[in-house]
């Protein structure tokens, strides 16, 4: 972390995104007082992470990255286990646990062993456990890793309900850019520095130009060609597709078509597409760095793969 400053307002869903190793998990651990900071200040709800970690843990829910629930406890036993750890009274448990299980859609599975739940249900149970002491803030570190798209969406619907119905403040790290679009505010972190901090819409607008997508018959020559054209701001690759950022789509599309035709490269139509958070992320990070990994062209030409 390098002199990073950020604030999350009450009731916000704040998404922290960035390349692997950028410092997302470190940020969460500093906030919770699990790591000691070298310099600067960190706090939650007015409590200092270093001086008042217990005050924070009473008021904050947390799901650690790749967190695993005790597999040999049932759904209900897991809830009771976490409630006891947080010092929730029996009376409160009787009220909150059924509520939370209903909220997470687990009311019919209270007796099932956590180890026997599907991936999506495990994540929902972890969320319910993190809420058992009625926190005002939750910190979620990649809570949907390895979960299928349907379960991922259900999990985020639960987060939406928490925000809407309880005004919960949510701080979430995610590698999924579609999830980032569901946040009210996004911080983009790179090498321990915050390089963007804004709403999803504003962040997408930080990328200049319009986006054209095509699937050329000869990929590498087409990619090289695009990089030389006037009005082309950036070229991203995705499988067999090229994403070409241009200053003006209407003007550049026919020019690109003509250049490809002259080289005998066919394509299945050039489409104007919306810039999503995914493309914005790549563009904003690429500006910061020239990746030190070998290019695919080079990998192929050297016969490595």
């Amino acid at each position: 972390m390098d002199h990073l400053s950020l604030q999350v307002r009450r009731g916000e869903t704040y998404g922290l995104i960035g390349p692997d190793g950028a410092g997302k998990t470190t940020t969460v651990r500093l906030l919770l007082g699990l790591l000691s900071r070298t310099e600067g200040k960190t706090g939650i709800l007015g409590f200092d992470s270093m001086n008042d970690p217990y005050e924070i843990r009473e008021r904050v829910g947390y799901i650690a990255q790749q967190f695993v629930l005790p597999a040999d406890l049932t759904v209900k036993e897991n809830m009771r286990f976490f409630a006891n750890m947080q010092g929730v009274t029996d009376e409160e448990q009787k009220k909150h646990i059924p509520e939370l299980l209903a909220f997470a859609g687990l009311a019919d599975f209270t007796g099932r062993l956590a180890g026997q739940l599907s991936g999506g249900m495990k994540k929902k149970l972890a969320l319910a456990c993190s809420l058992v002491h009625t926190p005002q803030v939750v910190l979620l570190d990649e809570p949907t890793l390895g979960v299928d798209p349907i379960s991922r969406r259900e999990f985020w619907n639960l987060l939406g309900n928490l925000r809407a119905e309880r005004g919960l403040t949510i701080f979430v790290c995610t590698p999924y850019m579609d999830e980032a679009e569901r946040c009210t505010q996004i911080g983009l972190i790179y090498e321990g520095k915050l390089i963007a901090n804004d709403t999803p819409n504003q962040i997408k607008h930080m990328v200049a130009g319009e986006l054209l997508e095509l699937r050329p018959s000869r990929f590498v020559p087409a990619q090289e060609l695009m990089n030389t054209l006037e009005g082309v701001l950036e070229v991203q690759t995705y499988g067999e597709k090229l994403h070409v950022f241009v200053d003006e789509a209407q003007r550049r599309k026919p020019q690109i078509e003509a250049v490809l035709a002259a080289q005998g490269i066919t394509h299945q139509g050039i489409r104007l597409i919306e810039i999503r958070m995914e493309e914005a992320f790549i563009s904003l990070i690429r500006r910061q760095t020239d990746a030190d990994v070998m290019s695919i062209t080079e990998t192929v030409s050297k016969g490595i793969i």
Binding site: D20, I150, G160, Y238, M277
Partner: protein
């Protein structure tokens, strides 16, 4: 077993697809993890093997690798029977597991060495492959860093390097992009394509439906059964139940919650309501007169509708539609 024997000859038959699966079944007690699945993958294809958690994707791969025995049915990989010819087959097959199975307490180079020796590489070839894979993974200069210290993208490329150290002709990649950032994800798909162009056959599982769009063919598995298999574009034509209305609005989260309530009350026959990033996708039956009704419902709740358009379904729409239609 009366299954046809697909693996008579030791030599790979060039006309036979490198992966053939016929009636493959695996049960654990009364639970059918994989239930009479048949498919084949052509040489040089990138085949996406998709499905919800617990649908049977990894179990299928483990049978194809000869790690577990099918209850019934048969499989052939490069003409070899994974059950009876495991060792011979493995010399030509690469596997990258969900957890990037690397030894954390070894350095990157030692990991490559280890896998190279397991696959029986000659000394000179192993040396050459180590250098090449370190370059491919962007690890030159980090020779002595422990693997545990490497972050997601590096580990991912190193794991791929270890899986292809012996230059296999078929590669199984089980969620190779889980938890890595979008840039590493794209670079990784570049590598997958480069391998396929060289004739390597790739079977890959993923929970990213935009990645699935990049496959030549995909198979959807749900509760152990193959529910659809085709090219992404064909699946969009044949497997989608209903039409997709894409809604751009001032409050996507709020809009979705309202439409979910509408769906439950049955006011409008909404088949599905889901958020795709900042857009709502509402799936409706063939009749198209509901567009204005939806606009009015949202407007009444003070949600501004910026655009409301019938769109071609994404593969994710199709996935949700096929999987939920199939499940009880």
């Amino acid at each position: 077993m009366n299954q046809p024997n697909l693996v008579d000859n030791q030599d790979t038959n060039p006309t036979q697809p490198p992966i053939v699966v016929e009636g493959l079944t695996k049960s654990f007690g009364s639970f059918m993890a994989v239930d009479h699945i048949s498919f084949s993958v052509q040489a040089g294809d990138v085949f996406g093997w998709l499905g919800p958690n617990g649908a049977g994707k990894t179990t299928t791969i483990r049978m194809l690798l000869g790690l577990i025995k099918p209850t019934s049915g048969s499989a052939s990989v490069l003409g070899f029977d994974p059950v009876t010819q495991t060792k011979t087959m493995q010399a030509h097959v690469g596997y990258m597991s969900q957890q990037f199975t690397l030894y954390n307490e070894l350095t990157a180079r030692e990991n490559i060495q280890f896998y190279g020796k397991v696959y029986g590489l000659e000394r000179d070839e192993l040396k050459k492959r180590q250098d090449e894979i370190m370059q491919m993974a962007g690890l030159v200069g980090r020779e002595n860093v422990l693997t545990s210290q490497l972050s997601g993208g590096w580990k991912q490329r190193l794991a791929l390097g270890c899986a292809i150290v012996h230059r296999p002709r078929v590669v199984f990649l089980d969620e190779p992009t889980a938890g890595v950032d979008p840039i590493s994800r794209r670079d990784f798909w570049g590598l997958i394509y480069a391998m396929a162009k060289k004739g390597v056959t790739v079977l890959v599982t993923t929970h990213y439906m935009d990645e699935a769009e990049l496959c030549q063919r995909v198979g959807f598995i749900s509760q152990g059964r193959l529910v659809a298999m085709d090219s992404p574009s064909r699946l969009k034509q044949t497997q989608m139940h209903g039409q997709v209305l894409e809604i751009n609005s001032s409050d996507p989260e709020g809009g979705m919650r309202i439409l979910k309530a509408v769906q439950q009350q049955g006011q409008i026959p909404l088949l599905e309501v889901a958020l795709y990033g900042a857009q709502i996708h509402a799936v409706l039956p063939e009749a198209r007169e509901y567009k204005e009704a939806i606009r009015n419902i949202l407007l009444k709740k003070n949600i501004q509708v910026h655009s409301l358009e019938w769109i071609a379904p994404t593969l994710e729409d199709v996935f949700i539609s096929s999987v939920t239609t199939f499940s009880p």
